[in-house]
């Protein structure tokens, strides 16, 4: 009996010894043999390095109160392909509403994580909520909201990672986004929501808000007028600019048709263009104002000089054929510009020869304005080294040169400022170059202003006139290039000018492209648009 008892005791003792030995062996494995692995695992669960961006800064208009871009949280939908509870239901749902995601899911079944759609639209949110599928989960991401949709082509948008994609959002991406703060956390491993210790490694800088020179009310009003004109003439597109020539500030900059920056996915990228800066065209007879300015400055023509315009629609100038819209006989130089006679201006341009090219460069054509807007076009002026016999004639009435609407506005600002140039300004807080020496003589400026005023009073820009205000404007109708040839059916209609009253000045430039109705000329399409934009601007600025 005692012997059995002893054997049992020894057996139990040995079993316990064995158990302790196993424990000790395990401890040895964990603490010594695999210590590096477990230390690393613990470190990963406990210590986390986090980089965190500050909220993207807002964009305001010139009042500094009206936001043009705000932050907002967006919902994104995702699935965990490896852990789908109802894979068939999910696939059917995706096939109907998100076919591209369903395609991705088919090819990447073994992925741990997959976005169904980032930054869902309201309709997509509703569809997902209605489906009530547990496998489709939602998470919040940062996004942007744009209260003034018609400023879309200027403001631009951000991509799915909230970085500037185009427009001001891209131009000022660094300033708006700031730099991320980097810190390490001793995280609570269980919940992952809290931490014990937080240590900053690199201090982040918050994004700085941007104030634009745009006036959001005026932007809306000008956009409305532009859209009306495009509809009325069944035109393809249009754009307009309103500038204060005294400061160079751009008060309105619109393009139409435009896009909804709050519902960007699937947008036709053509509609996202800021057509006033990123597209350059041959604007036609608008250039006559600048050719006349050059001729007056160089003293090769006088306002009252009589010029024989041939009395027909087609004449040969130095052996080159020149066409004009209406036949005129002898006209004064002022009337040549007022009535937009191609023959008259070509005769004067011949006297200028290569100097005309220098004057166009002096007015800011053929180079960027310095506004630094992404995608700005410098335009082009055919240089004298590449001229044919036709070139000087073409350049005098706006062919063989392309420019943006902003460059035309800048040149008109120089006229409004009596020869002193000014750099256009879109960011309110930036400093700009202010010229101390004029580009042109005051006397020349007075004459060209008189000619442009006459153009509004009795010339082709009659419909741009406003009673009680001094309006100095010029129109231009230009054929568009189609497959390397000028098409008489496809035109671009432009009107540019200055509106003045008691020290108040505004430069307005507007264009409409490809009007589909008959009798469409700049005088009938663009000049009335100019007049409406000017009226809206004057009422808005309370200059009555």
């Amino acid at each position: 009996m005692i012997k059995t008892y002893k054997i049992r005791t020894v057996f139990i003792f040995l079993v316990f010894c064995l158990l302790y030995a196993i424990i000790l062996f395990n401890l040895y494995l964990i603490q010594v043999k695999q210590s590096a692995f477990f230390a690393d695992l613990g470190e990963k669960q406990y210590n986390v390095t986090v980089s965190r961006y500050a909220a993207r800064a807002e964009i305001f208009d010139r009042t500094k109160k009206q936001p043009l871009a705000l932050n907002k949280d967006c919902l994104s939908a995702f699935i965990l392909p490896k852990q789908l509870a109802e894979p068939e239901k999910v696939k059917t749902f995706l096939r109907t509403h998100f076919p591209l995601t369903e395609k991705r899911l088919r090819s990447q079944k073994n992925k741990n994580f997959m976005f169904v759609q980032r930054k869902l639209s309201k309709e997509q949110e509703k569809v997902i909520q209605k489906a009530e599928l547990k496998d489709i989960k939602l998470l919040k991401e940062r996004g942007r909201f744009y209260p003034v949709a018609c400023a879309g082509p200027v403001i631009g948008t951000t991509d799915i990672d909230n970085k500037g994609l185009f427009g001001i959002e891209l131009q000022c991406n660094e300033q708006l986004g700031g730099t991320p703060a980097i810190y390490s956390l001793e995280q609570e491993a269980r919940s992952g929501h809290f931490y014990f210790k937080k240590e900053m490694h690199k201090k982040g800088t918050p994004g700085k808000p941007i104030h634009l020179t745009l006036d959001s009310d005026l932007q809306f009003l000008v956009h409305e007028e532009l859209v009306d004109t495009i509809k009325r003439w069944n035109a393809q597109e249009g754009a307009a600019i309103v500038m204060n020539p005294k400061t160079g500030e751009i008060l309105a900059m619109v393009s139409a048709p435009t896009f909804d920056p709050n519902n960007f996915s699937g947008t036709d990228l053509e509609k996202t263009k800021n057509k006033t800066i990123t597209e350059s065209y041959e604007f036609g007879s608008i250039a006559k104002a600048f050719a006349a300015l050059a001729a007056l400055e160089e003293g090769v023509a006088h306002i009252d000089e009589q010029i024989n315009c041939g009395g027909s629609k087609t004449t040969y100038v130095d052996g080159r054929k020149v066409n004009t819209l209406v036949a005129h006989g002898v006209l004064s130089f002022s009337e040549v510009v007022e009535l937009s006679n191609n023959i008259g201006i070509a005769i004067v341009a011949k006297r200028l020869n290569e100097t005309l090219y220098d004057h166009y460069l002096r007015l800011g054509f053929g180079k960027k304005t310095g506004i630094l807007f992404p995608g700005e076009q410098p335009g082009f002026i055919n240089p004298p080294s590449k001229w044919s016999k036709q070139s000087i004639i073409s350049l005098s009435y706006g062919y063989e040169m392309t420019c943006t609407l902003l460059q035309i506005a800048q040149a008109f600002c120089t006229i409004a400022r009596d020869g002193y140039p000014i750099q256009p300004k879109l960011l309110l807080d930036t400093k700009q170059k202010i010229a101390t020496t004029p580009l042109y003589k005051k006397e020349t400026m007075d004459v060209i202003k008189q000619i442009l005023e006459n153009t509004t009073l009795r010339g082709t820009a009659r419909r741009a006139g406003i009673k009680g205000y001094r309006v100095m404007s010029k129109t231009g109708t230009a054929n568009l290039l189609v497959d390397g040839q000028y098409s008489p059916e496809k035109n671009i209609y432009t009107c540019a000018g200055i509106v003045e009253k008691d020290g108040y000045q505004r430069v307005i430039v507007a264009f409409v492209k490809e009007a589909q109705k008959e009798n469409a000329y700049a005088a009938t399409v663009a000049a009335p648009l100019f007049e409406k934009v000017a009226e809206k601007t004057l009422i808005h600025d309370k200059v009555v």
């Binding site: 705000l70 932050n71 909201f145 929501h193 931490y195 009555v544």
Partner: protein, 91 residues
């Protein structure tokens, strides 16, 4: 002082020190949790402000205001020629 008595005091003092150290640490963790909860609450409030701002500007859309003015208030677009400037002479 007798030697055993000194040892007891030494041990008790150490026990107290350890207790206070643990107490301090748990207090720090508690306050840290409180701080983090407040931070989360702040974030939530910031989000709410953003949502409300968005709603406000959505309602202040110029196209909606124009529609309301034209349809509900029967307002019409004004032309420059319709505006008269009235000078009021001081009496």
């Amino acid at each position: 002082m007798k030697r055993p008595y000194f040892i007891v005091i030494f041990i008790v003092a150490h026990i107290f020190f350890i207790f206070f150290q643990i107490h301090k640490h748990s207090k720090v963790i508690k306050l840290s949790y409180k701080k983090q909860k407040s931070e989360q609450k702040k974030e939530l409030l910031v989000q709410t402000i953003q949502d409300l701002k968005q709603q406000l500007y959505e309602m202040q859309k110029r196209s909606s205001i124009k529609k309301f003015a034209q349809e509900q208030l029967k307002m019409r677009k004004i032309k420059l020629s319709q505006i008269n400037k009235i000078k009021i002479e001081p009496q």
